[in-house]
């Protein structure tokens, strides 16, 4: 028997339901025998009209847990012998080895790493490995074409659990910024977002709108609200 309804808020220890053919429980839960309980403050999202439905227990707050393959935005905080230490706003520190930073062959002995990346630089990177046994559990790479140093635009920070909301279903939310304002918005799974527009004022507007999405992430009808905000901005700025 499902103990929750769609859009309900649950708290740690709340019973969600049990093992059933009618539904499948995923997300921020823990199991005791064949019963699932909420592990954090979360919102229930019940997906699908055909059984088995998916009962998603979506956490409303929490730290970023690195996953292999995730795209993240990091800040270089230290230059080490063979690479850089990068902050990815996570309980685990990240390391970008020199041979994952460039496609060109590098002479490790003579190279000055500062020429490639310096402290305080921002990188769009991918997590190539997450291994707790290492000193730096997270290993990054920027060797793919769209990855690398971020040189312009604005980077803002949001709660990592709100990332799916900012992206939207199949990217629908984030694509609105591209379609309506011609802005590139790249969302790091670790809650950092890179906004690039032709006009700095548009970047400021997009940043504020993303913060709005973060605050209202648990509200329904968010897409429509954001659409309206963008339309209003466009008309007052005289944009087409």
């Amino acid at each position: 028997m499902l103990n929750v309804t769609d859009r309900m808020i649950v708290l740690p220890g709340d019973l969600i339901g049990g093992k059933s053919n009618d539904y499948v429980i995923v997300g921020s839960v823990y199991w005791e025998g064949d019963k699932a309980y909420a592990a954090t403050v979360a919102m229930i999202n019940i997906k699908g009209d055909v059984k088995p439905m998916e009962v998603q227990v979506i956490p409303l707050n929490g730290a970023y847990k690195p996953r292999q393959g995730d795209i993240v935005i990091g800040y270089v905080i230290d230059i080490l012998v063979n690479g850089w230490e990068v902050d990815i706003k996570s309980p685990y520190s990240a390391y970008l080895p020199i041979n994952e930073a460039t496609l060109k062959p590098i002479d490790v002995v003579t190279a000055d790493l500062r020429n490639i990346l310096n402290v305080s630089d921002i990188v769009l990177a991918k997590i190539s490995d997450f291994n707790l046994a290492k000193d730096y559990p997270v290993t990054l790479t920027i060797k793919e074409s769209r990855l690398g140093r971020i040189e312009d635009g604005t980077v803002i920070e949001i709660d990592p659990v709100k990332v799916p909301r900012v992206i939207g279903k199949k990217g629908s939310m984030v694509n609105m910024f591209k379609d309506e304002l011609n802005c590139d918005v790249t969302v790091g799974q670790n809650g950092r977002i890179w906004v690039r527009c032709r006009d700095k004022r548009d970047e400021l507007f997009v940043s504020q709108t993303i913060k709005f999405i973060e605050r209202e992430s648990h509200q329904s009808g968010l897409m429509d609200k954001v659409k309206a905000i963008i339309q209003s901005y466009k008309s007052t700025s005289g944009l087409p």
């Binding site: 730290a63 800040y75 905080i77 902050d87 706003k89 310096n118 635009g153």
Partner: protein
């Protein structure tokens, strides 16, 4: 959340901030010399003899006054003892570690102490019980609860507001013995017109800003505090960086007008005790 002994501000953000400041603007739309929203609530801690909670933007500081019996210092037999203590507990910022006050906390406490003493805001002579033998020791304990920049000015505000709210327990003299009767308190006698406030200027490139957020503060390369009662300068403290005599002149003049206006606001906010500690 990573934990480093410094704030991480990437160069792209620094460049953006520098550009904004050179255009006279800040991320929260303020002008260079504007302060954030300020609220002060007094009488928030029942166990204290006076208290105040200051919210300056997101910076939150609480101050509590406690009176004890003490012996006067040898060179000031007719004055009470004023002791200012400031703590930056680990709950206020990810970079604060538990432990005794560090050099930053001590510096702020001492600047506030000097400003209080020289402004004569609290006539310390009034805190004498038996001259040369028994006086009140007045503890001003300032606790930073959330650090979002400008701890000096917000702590000064908390201190003077708590003092304005202070009530002194009656001293009962029985021959040679003195006891404090905490059930009877009378308002501390202060000189409101002498209330000192600080304005701390932070330098980014060649621009001076007032009341920075933590981000702006971390980015700054100079700091200079001016304490005033609106007419006189009662303390000065140069922190990091360098300042020209012209800049110092400008800061001192700016401070007098900022303090005059700010004092009016503060005196209004400390009039009515709130009673509740809810944020």
């Amino acid at each position: 959340m990573s934990s480093y002994p410094f704030e991480i501000i990437p160069s792209l953000r620094r460049d953006t901030l520098r550009r904004m400041i050179s255009e006279g603007k800040r991320p929260d739309d303020r002008q260079l010399i504007s302060m954030r929203d300020l609220t002060i609530r007094v009488g928030v801690i029942k166990t204290a003899d006076g208290s105040a909670l200051v919210n300056l933007g997101n910076t939150k500081v609480i101050a509590g006054i406690k009176f004890e019996l003490g012996k006067p210092f040898e060179d000031t037999p007719n004055e009470g003892n004023l002791i200012v203590n400031l703590e930056t507990p680990p709950l206020a910022a990810p970079t604060f570690e538990p432990g005794p006050p560090d050099e930053n906390a001590i510096e702020i406490a001492r600047v506030i102490d000097r400003a209080l003493r020289h402004s004569n805001y609290i006539p310390l002579r009034d805190l004498t019980i038996i001259p040369g033998k028994s006086v009140y020791t007045m503890w001003v304990d300032i606790y930073v609860l959330n650090h979002d920049g400008n701890l000096i000015d917000s702590s000064m505000l908390a201190a003077v507001s708590a003092i304005a709210n202070a009530q002194v327990p009656r001293a009962i003299i029985d021959g040679e013995n003195v006891k404090l009767d905490k059930s009877t308190k009378i308002p501390l006698n202060i000189n409101p017109q002498n209330m000192p406030l600080t304005v701390t200027y932070y330098k980014i490139d060649k621009y001076l800003i007032v009341d920075p957020t933590l981000e702006e503060e971390v980015m700054s390369d100079g700091r200079f505090t001016v304490a005033s009662d609106g007419e006189n300068i009662v303390a000065l403290q140069k922190g990091e960086g360098y300042f020209t005599p012209e800049e110092i002149d400008s800061m001192i003049n700016n401070t007098l007008s900022i303090v005059k206006d700010l004092k009016v606001k503060v005196l209004e906010m400390v009039k009515t005790p709130t009673g509740s500690l809810l944020f």
